[in-house]
Amino acid sequence: MGYKAALKVWRGDAGSGALADYEVEVNEGEVVLDVLHRLQATQASDLAIRWNCKAGKCGSCSMEINGMPRLGCMTRMSTFSPEETLTITPMRTFPVIRDLVTDVSFNYAKARAIPSFTPDPAIKPGEFRMQQEDVERSQEFRKCIECFLCQNTCHAIRDHEDNETAFSGPRFLMRVAELEMHPADEADRRNIAQDDFGLGLCNITKCCTEVCPEHIKITDNAIIPMKERVAGRRFDPLVWLGSKISRRPEPAGTPAVPGKR
């Protein structure tokens, strides 16, 4: 059953790097991460790979396999033919640290900019009452394992480095949607979604949805409804008139963006 697979693995650091050729044994039922581990244990002990659970639950082993953003632990070798050469490279959007490991700190910075869950302070722990049907929309988004493959593949970041400041990326626009749809959240993030997190930069090509290992419908269920909510607020003539008369910079309930100067 076993065979030897030809692998091209990107080796290098922030300065330079190149694809290195390896031949590694493959056994029945294995995934790409198994084969990389065997490479590490037998030929390249210093090959840098980020991984944790090897069960598709932690979202650590994100990489590009033949150019496709994938989790190494959920990509079975049987999806490739034994003759095929596998090219394994780090996520392209993020700066390389070493080999297949990238610096994903961009994502943590974006996470920190989104105003957190804001419940009614009068509700004490244990007193929340929410219906299942009302929490399901947010629950879908909370399946996210933060593998950042959507962030990696979104061409608004991947091909436009200049968007990095203005655009939070699909993962964090989805976080905004999650909070906005949370039945117990009271803040209004619609304006800042557009102005600070770059909701308008998404042109709904659904690349993020395609690569999501959790099969979350990021575009259809998070981003498009957010765009509709923002449009509803901004283009409501009464809201528009109100904003002209009162000259309030933000509508009531809009939290300040942490870290914004």
């Binding site: 029945e28 210093d46 650590s60 957190s116 933060e146």
Partner: protein
């Protein structure tokens, strides 16, 4: 080549002063950090992985808390009783009491942080059935509860950082996460108090010293010491080893939980967890003959609480007040041993497990709703559709009940300034942990550890223990050693042989001679580990990281094997084929391990006595199954008036009234 490289040999150390350093960023670590920060302390969180990736994400079933949302008969006393029974009465009773009492508040608190649990029709947090729990008790989110918990706590840390951002214009003013950073040594002052923690940053390989009077260990477990495990690479017993090396004591390391249901096929995913919720939601275990074999394995101590026929067991799912539980929901140790016995008797599946069948018992739609990640896991990794076919499963190393000996109320270890919470601590779960009691344990004792550290700092009154220079030099030399060897062995090889040895000789069923053989093998591994060499640079070099982890795994493995040899009885997560019975004399004993130079010392220590009011929560007839006559002399007139012939009582009263 690399040994002459200045980057590899640099002994430069970056220093970070903090009030509290929490090692580990899973459930207990984050909860401890949140509490320490709430007490106004500058807190560092050290994470071996990226923030939000900790092993807690893999917890599936839920967090046990007697909120009584689904069955109003539930309360902390019932939860306490279930926990003690599950642990075969070896639990530290005070820990089990605190846990049962405080778990509901800790779960509700998560909701206030933004967690979104599944709901009951009244809009409360839904609770599900699980092995060993008398009532539906596990707060859950489908089968991804751990992910919900880690993300909630992660986002609460971020919320605290945002508060500091508004107030000080610096999000990291009072709480900071040091991701991908590994601690290799705790350092102390001249008088033996904790003074800080030393380690390296993964991406650069640079050394760091956290100077802090209080350290909370929240490093999780030891599963990577075994070959077939549900645990991630992080579970190399780091906290257990750091505690031992710092002079603290470990307890009851022989108790290792083998979860009954891990995947067995394909080989690359062997050990991967299949949640107990499959059984809680109606799944049953069958052997190759199609029989529900668990009915043959109900032990005497549990006979009163478990169904004797398939019909009664099946009725329980819809009418738990008038029927007894299915034996598939016995505590994990019982189920794992039974599966092992079936396979050994030749009634196993083609790949050496048994069948876990929910496909024939529940509609596909229900399975997809309740167990989405199990569906996903089997579909993607094994080409098995669990709505159509049974799963093949077998025991997998899942959890260590043993750990750092701590004070129940403050989580303080025996070394001043050292605290431990979660899986790395010992005592709470006795000889066997119930499913669902881990996530709640993390929250209850994580918070207590944060408080304990804060109280300790107050007691110091501003004094800062100074790091001993000798400690620091030794830590640097130890970390760099693998680079200085050029012809040593590869750490991966030693690790994989260690895992095989522990699996074969100190696994689910133990025998005296095999454990002795394991101890002899461990001596050899120690020599080999002292000679491993790693090529390359210090920046993100997994070979080097493995070499550091190997020390920890070997120390922990030796503790497990020594205690397993010493305890000549079978109880919970420790089964001795040559001593198959549970012995009431051994119930009174904790095995305490400390490090003396290179040698591990082991002593017998009496288990703390259970308070009278807690003892009275049980029927004397039940206590008699576990305790010696001498221990029960004060209990001739029990508060519980139940008839002594409890097992003969009708099923209806069984599940309602106290036992």
């Amino acid at each position: 080549m690399s040994t002459s490289d200045s980057a590899s040999t640099s002994t430069e150390i970056e220093r970070y002063p903090y009030d509290v350093v929490v090692i580990g960023a899973g459930g207990s670590g984050l909860r401890a950090a949140i509490e320490a920060r709430a007490r106004g302390l500058r807190t560092a969180i050290i994470s071996k992985s990226l923030f939000g990736k900790a092993h807690t994400v893999m917890a599936e079933g839920g967090a046990a808390a007697a909120m009584g949302n689904v069955n109003p008969n539930d309360n902390w006393m019932v939860h306490f009783r279930d926990t003690m029974r599950g642990g075969k009465f070896l639990n530290n009773p005070r820990m089990a009491e605190l846990h049962a009492k405080e778990a509901p508040d800790r779960v509700w608190e998560l909701e206030a942080y933004g967690a979104i649990f599944d709901r009951t029709p009244e809009g409360k947090i839904s609770q599900r059935n699980f092995g060993g729990h008398e009532y539906p008790r596990l707060a859950h989110v489908g089968d991804r509860t751990g992910l919900e918990m880690i993300r909630t706590l992660q986002q609460q840390v971020v919320a605290l950082q945002q508060a500091d951002s508004y107030e000080f214009d610096d999000p990291e003013a009072r709480i900071k996460v040091f991701a991908e950073t590994t601690i290799t040594r705790l350092v102390k002052d001249e008088s033996g108090r904790i003074a800080g923690a030393f380690g390296y940053v993964r991406d650069t390989g640079r050394f760091v010293l956290f100077e802090a009077p209080a350290v909370v260990l929240a490093t999780g477990g030891i599963g990577r010491t075994f070959k077939v495990t549900s645990n991630s690479w992080e579970y190399s017993g780091d906290g257990h080893a750091l505690a031992l090396l710092a002079g603290a004591s470990l307890m009851n390391m022989e108790f290792v939980q083998f979860h009954p249901t891990g995947m067995v096929w394909p080989p690359s995913v062997r050990g991967l967890l299949v949640t107990e919720s499959v059984r809680g939601d109606g799944g049953v275990l069958r052997n190759s003959e199609g029989k529900r074999f668990m009915f043959n394995y109900v032990p005497d101590v549990f006979r009163a609480q478990y169904a004797e026929t398939e019909e009664e067991a099946d009725r329980w799912y819809t009418d738990p007040d008038h029927n007894r539980r299915p034996p598939e929901l016995l505590p994990r140790d019982e189920v794992a041993r039974s599966i092992n016995a079936e396979v050994k008797a030749g009634r196993g599946t083609p790949h050496g497990g048994v069948f876990l069948d929910i496909a024939s018992r529940r509609p596909a739609e229900y399975i997809l709703k309740r167990l989405p990640s199990m569906y996903h896991q089997f579909k993607e990794l094994a080409d098995v559709d669990i709505t159509k076919e049974p799963m093949e499963i077998g025991p997998t190393c899942h959890y260590v009940m043993g750990g750092v000996e701590v004070d129940p109320d403050t989580a303080a270890a025996s070394v001043p300034g050292l605290f431990a919470a979660g899986e790395v601590s010992g005592g709470m779960h006795g000889s066997n942990r119930l499913g669902g009691n881990s996530l709640s344990d993390l929250l209850v004792f994580g918070k207590r550890a944060g408080d304990g550290a804060a109280d300790y700092l107050e007691s110091l009154g501003g004094a800062k223990p100074a790091v001993s220079a000798a400690d620091l030099d030794a830590a640097v030399a130890e970390a760099l050693a693998p680079f200085s060897r050029t012809d040593g062995e590869n750490p991966y090889t030693v690790h994989s042989e260690l895992q095989q040895t522990m699996h074969d000789l100190v696994g689910i069923i133990r025998r005296e001679q095999e454990v002795r053989d394991a101890l002899a093998a461990l001596e050899k591994f120690k020599e080999r580990a002292a000679n491993v060499a790693v090529p390359g640079e210090r920046a993100y070099n997994p070979g080097w990281h493995y070499a550091q982890d190997l020390r920890n795994m070997l120390l922990v493995a030796e503790c497990v094997a020594m205690a397993a040899l010493e305890r000549t009885e079978s109880r919970g997560g420790h089964t001795r084929e040559d001593h198959p019975a549970m012995d009431p004399e051994w119930r009174k004993v904790n095995l305490i391990l400390t490090l003396d130079g290179d040698k591990i010392d082991m002593v017998h220590q009496p288990l703390p006595a259970m308070r009278q009011d807690l003892l009275e929560l049980f029927d004397v007839s039940e206590l008699k199954k576990y305790m010696t006559a001498e221990e029960l002399t004060g209990l001739t007139a029990p508060a519980a008036p139940a008839a002594p012939a409890a097992s003969a009582a009708p099923a209806a009263s069984e599940s309602k009234e106290g036992h």
